[in-house]
């Protein structure tokens, strides 16, 4: 299986570094950033497959990052992991296209399984998109043939 490109975004360095280390032990290496700005930058440089995002951060907060990433890179699956979330936040995040919403603290295995599910989702999305793209090409070709036939 291809390595998952995972991006962890959290201002709590203590937490996120340890999390990254444990993920790596479970064969899921990740990049770690500590703010919303860095996260957007990192996504621009290389879009990850899955992103684990904290909501409350200084500067650009998680909800903004989610909004921007889903808009610019719809294939990136975003998992929210927050200690501050309310039901309203959860609802909003889901509406904005978050793949899943987790509350801190979370069991590492649970998070890992969500990350894997999100990755599978991303692959499926990409395949569907590719199929549609092919269908588009087919349409284009038929259009040209129709014009030739006249």
């Amino acid at each position: 299986m291809k390595k998952i490109k995972l991006l962890l975004v959290d201002d709590e360095e203590n937490f996120v570094n340890t999390l990254a280390e444990r993920m790596k032990m479970r064969d899921v290496p990740s990049r770690v950033v500590f703010s919303g700005e860095e996260a957007l930058e990192a996504v621009k440089v290389e879009a990850p497959d899955v992103m684990v995002l904290d909501l409350r951060m200084p500067g650009i907060d998680g909800m903004d990052v989610l909004r921007k990433v889903r808009k610019a890179h719809p294939h990136v699956q975003v998992i929210i992991l927050t200690g501050h979330g309310t039901d309203l936040d959860e609802e909003e995040a889901k509406k904005l296209g978050a793949f899943h919403y987790h509350k801190k603290p979370i069991d590492i295995d649970e998070l890992l399984s969500t990350v894997k599910k999100a990755y599978r989702e991303k692959i499926e999305d990409a395949m569907v998109a590719a199929t549609f793209a092919q269908a588009g090409e087919f349409d284009e070709a038929r259009k040209i043939m129709d014009e030739d036939g006249k």
């Binding site: 709590e12 203590n14 937490f15 340890t18 999390l19 280390e21 444990r22 032990m25 200690g83 501050h84 309310t86 039901d87 309203l88 509350k103 801190k104 603290p105 979370i106 590492i108």
Partner: protein, 579 residues
């Protein structure tokens, strides 16, 4: 008027100040004092005018009755006085006429005088005799029953008076004749300047007849006096003729006048009197006040009776009305107090909820860090089979992770308590929701031998509410009930309709019950009696949900007897209450 209003206002404010500015329920003593004040005030306000009216009536009536008795007496006296004056005037004119109509010489003839006397007595009664006296006071001729011819009167005072004044009317006296009589003397002067006097004696028994004509009641009296207070006629109660009247003479008045006084026996009397302008006489009538006022005493009795009855009625009505008023007041005060407490309670819960949410959020982040560190420790240990005391460390890490999970449960429930719950309404059958919820607990109940009795009213209407939230509510209450009852205990679940427009679901257990102190805090967050196992959030979440659904929850409990939770749900979903 304004001053009175101000005083009244002050009294009112003073009386009712108990009702303002107090958040506590008024104590029974204060209601009693308030009631006393209102009753007192209302009674005074009602009784004072009544008293005033009774007093005014008393005096007016008395005065009117007095006048009614006095006026006829005065008029009668006046009339009788006129009769007396007429009588005297007639006699005086007759004598005067005789004196002027005949020359001295003719009158001096006794034969002529006797003839005139005879004619005179035929026309006017009361004349006893008639005499002619010359200017020297010698009786020249005389007609009458007594041998008085030639008698000398020059020394007597009446003679000098008649010589000066022209006419003289004497007081009544006995004289030689030994019966009460009076004299009328008239002087005449002819052209030649010769003076003579005609003198007539009048029998005063005529006076008695005039007084008898007044036809007074037996206890009344009337008599004639002179100005010195000597009786001129015999009275019934105040002495015989020529005796002195035992009552002091009233002030002079020619009009008939009436005074209230006392006689010599100390009896209250009306004394009517009138002085004669032409002579020295005074006519008097006496009527005892006691008999005259007999009607008045009766009226007075009636008046008093009505007054007392009125006062009693006022007190009764005032008392009853105040009673009602105070009762209403008390009820509304208590309602107000209850509403206030509920609002206070809700605010308390809401602020504690916000605090809880804040705390939960802040704790979650460090908790997550600890979680990862402990997890990492365990991971690392897993990779190092040769680590000394490895098993022990793994156990320790597991213990940390377990504690973290417990902390997480608590913070998540705290957030659950505080979160704004979105209610999703659907039409549901409350019995069905209850039965579903009960099915979760059947196993545990069976295991512990607890009987759950269901008395569900199948005719209940379907209501719009939130199924999930209701299940949580029922589950919370039933869990508590299960925890409270002993093994083989009993829980009764009932549904029914309540007023107004609500469904009532009650949960009665025969468990350990709660103390009054516990009961007061039972819906507060973090209040728990299950030390170590409970978060103290179950019932406060339940309370919050029920309030959100527009319902209400009540609890009664008796230590040792069990607890009754009653949930009220509106039949029609209300707009969601403030979150």
């Amino acid at each position: 008027m304004r001053a009175v209003a101000t005083v009244f206002k002050t009294i009112l404010r003073h009386s009712f100040k108990d009702l303002h500015g107090s958040e506590d329920i008024l104590s029974p003593e204060r209601y009693v004092s308030l009631r006393r004040k209102i009753v007192g005030l209302m009674a005074v306000v009602a009784v004072v005018p009544l008293l005033l009216m009774a007093a005014i009536n008393y005096h007016e009536y008395r005065a009117a009755l007095g006048r009614e008795i006095q006026n006829p007496l005065r008029i009668l006296l006046s009339k009788t006085k006129n009769s007396f004056e007429l009588f005297l005037a007639e006699r005086t004119s007759t004598v005067s006429f005789i004196a002027s109509a005949y020359p001295f010489e003719e009158l001096a003839q006794e034969k002529n005088l006797k003839h005139i006397f005879t004619v005179m007595t035929q026309v006017f009664d009361g004349f006893v005799d008639l005499g002619l006296i010359d200017e020297n006071g010698v009786q020249v001729s005389y007609a009458g029953p007594y041998p008085l011819a030639g008698k000398h009167y020059a020394e007597q005072s009446w003679f000098s008076q008649v010589m000066i004044r022209g006419t003289y009317i004497s007081d009544v006296f006995m004289g030689y004749r030994h019966f009460p009589h009076m004299i009328i003397a008239v002087r005449h002067m002819d052209e030649s300047g010769k003076n003579w006097v005609v003198r007539a004696t009048i029998d005063t028994t005529r006076f008695d007849r005039l007084i008898a004509a007044m036809s007074l009641e037996p206890d009344s009296d009337a008599f004639l006096l002179n100005k010195e207070g000597i009786l001129q006629t015999t009275s019934n109660y105040y002495g015989k003729v020529l005796e002195r009247l035992p009552i002091p003479m009233p002030t002079q008045s020619y009009e008939a006048r009436l005074v209230e006084t006392q006689d010599q026996r100390g009896e209250d009397i009306y004394l009517a009197y009138s002085y004669f302008p032409e002579s020295d006489f005074v006519l008097m009538a006496v009527k005892p006040r006691g008999s005259a006022l007999k009607t008045w005493y009766m009226v007075k009795g009636d008046l008093l009776f009505i007054f007392v009855l009125g006062v009693m009625a006022i007190f009764l009505v005032v008392y009853k009305m105040t009673d009602l008023l105070i009762q209403r007041m008390r009820e509304s005060e208590e309602r107000r107090e209850l509403a206030f407490r509920q609002v206070e309670h809700a605010q308390k819960l809401s602020s504690i909820g916000r605090l809880a949410a804040g705390v939960a959020h802040e704790i979650n982040n460090p908790l997550a860090a600890i979680n990862e560190k402990a997890g990492l420790m365990k991971d690392l240990l897993g990779l190092r089979p040769d680590f000394p005391d490895r098993e022990r460390f793994i156990t320790l890490a597991d213990a940390i992770l377990k504690s973290i999970r417990r902390c997480r449960d608590i913070t998540h429930r705290m957030l659950g308590f505080a979160r704004r719950m979105d209610v999703s309404y659907e039409e549901l059958d409350i019995n069905e929701v209850l039965t579903d919820t009960l099915s979760f607990l059947d196993q545990e109940a069976k295991h512990r031998g607890v009987t759950i009795v269901r008395e569900l009213d199948e005719s209940l209407p379907r209501i719009k509410s939130d199924r999930g939230q209701l299940q949580q509510v029922f589950l919370n209450i039933l869990n508590n009930a299960l925890a409270a009852v002993p093994d083989d205990g009993r829980i009764e679940v009932k549904t029914g309709e309540g007023v107004p427009d609500s469904l009532v679901i009650s949960f009665q257990d025969n468990g350990c019950g709660m103390s009054q102190d516990t009961l007061e805090h039972v819906f507060e967050p973090f209040f728990t009696t299950k030390k170590g196992t409970g978060t103290g959030l179950g019932l406060s979440i339940t309370y919050g949900i029920i309030k959100k659904l527009g319902g209400d929850i009540a609890v009664t409990s008796k230590q040792g007897d069990g607890t009754l939770f009653t949930v009220y749900l509106p039949k029609t979903a209300r707009k969601e209450a403030a979150s």
